[in-house]
Symmetry: C2
Subunit: 216 residues, 2 copies
């Protein structure tokens, strides 16, 4: 009985990490769609986003069933409750990746990101992909130090967003209001995507230690 | 024992509805700060946002403790798990109200919202306040019909956001890119705030019926 339960928990943990790697692929494809005006990549990101939604529902249902049937306590209960919150974060990450792809698709074949801020958006895309990869690793290994590193790394994303907003609000911005609106939304999508990886890492620390780390 | 448990659940439900009414006050004050360039209202919204955070943590901890100690099943378990997700939504609503107030504060004493879209932002503010009030009522009464009405009403907010984006992206937009960026972020904050009230309503329906309603 206990063995079966442990196996269920392990499988849940593995499937969560797996779901996280789908969000990684989704944001990677979305960024590619955006920066290379690649419609096939936008389609792929949309498909992955839909897939994340389906998997998330299934996992959520499974976690609830385990809690109802096994009445877990202490660390097991924390892991399952944290898991359900993580599922919600991963779903949202999938939705945000879908939003990025949708912006690319709406403007296709026009590029959305002006040359001047292309580097910043590319860096945000790279950061988002890397943070999703790191969150997957944190979910799989429950490595406390890696989780703290991820939380620390997120400061860089916030900095990129500030730089992006400063560029669009500067008097030197030459691309008009419509372009500024697009870039603002994109920046916000990436930043929120990364925020969710931080939330996941904080929750893994909570599962391991029983204490939530301070807000970054 | 059972009586005490029922009392704990009732109190949790009451406190969640109460927390929701704090988010209502926070977004109301934030909107006031924004549209009337009122610094005291911005301060009040920031205070309420911080208060929401503290209350949410306390409630979250309490829900986890009840699940661990009472090992609830069926509808009680659904209510507690849904409650923990609702707490996360209410926290986020508090943060978003804080973001709106922060935009007002950063530009004080300059007004942030250009005359042309003032009506749209005012309508979004009114909708957000009304939806928070309705979500509080749904949490308190678990009224299925009221929850469905709230989900329906949210279509109006999405429409307002589309109108707002169309205005900022139009060739007639006279207020420059910086202003477009502010307005875009504000619209997004309000729309996300309202989305969370929809999530709360969907979860209340889940608690009552055991089935999640379709995504709006």
């Amino acid at each position: 009985m206990r063995d079966q339960f442990v196996e269920q928990l392990d499988r849940m943990r593995y499937d969560l990490a797996e779901l996280c790697s789908v969000t990684e692929a989704a944001i990677d494809r979305a960024t590619h769609a955006l920066l290379d005006t690649d419609l096939a990549a936008a389609d792929r990101a949309a498909d992955l986003s839909a897939d994340i939604d389906i998997r998330a529902r299934e996992l959520d249902h499974r976690a609830l069933t385990i809690i109802a049937r096994q009445a877990p306590v202490a660390q097991d209960l924390r892991a399952l409750i944290a898991g359900m919150h993580n599922i919600a974060d991963l779903r949202r990450m999938g939705t945000l990746a879908g939003h990025v792809a949708e912006v690319a698709r709406l403007h296709y074949p026009e590029p959305v990101v002006p040359y001047e801020v292309r580097g910043i958006i590319a860096d945000m895309g790279t950061a988002a992909t890397a943070q999703a990869a790191a969150a997957g690793e944190v979910l799989r290994t429950r490595d406390y130090v890696r989780a703290l590193e991820l939380i620390e790394a997120d400061g860089r994303t916030d900095e990129l967003l500030r730089t992006l907003f400063a560029a669009t609000k500067s008097e030197d911005w030459l691309y008009g209001a419509a372009s500024a609106v697009n870039v603002t939304l994109l920046g916000r999508f990436y930043e929120r995507f990364c925020d969710h990886t931080v939330e996941i890492s904080r929750r893994v620390i909570f599962v391991v230690t029983g204490e939530l780390p301070d807000e970054p």
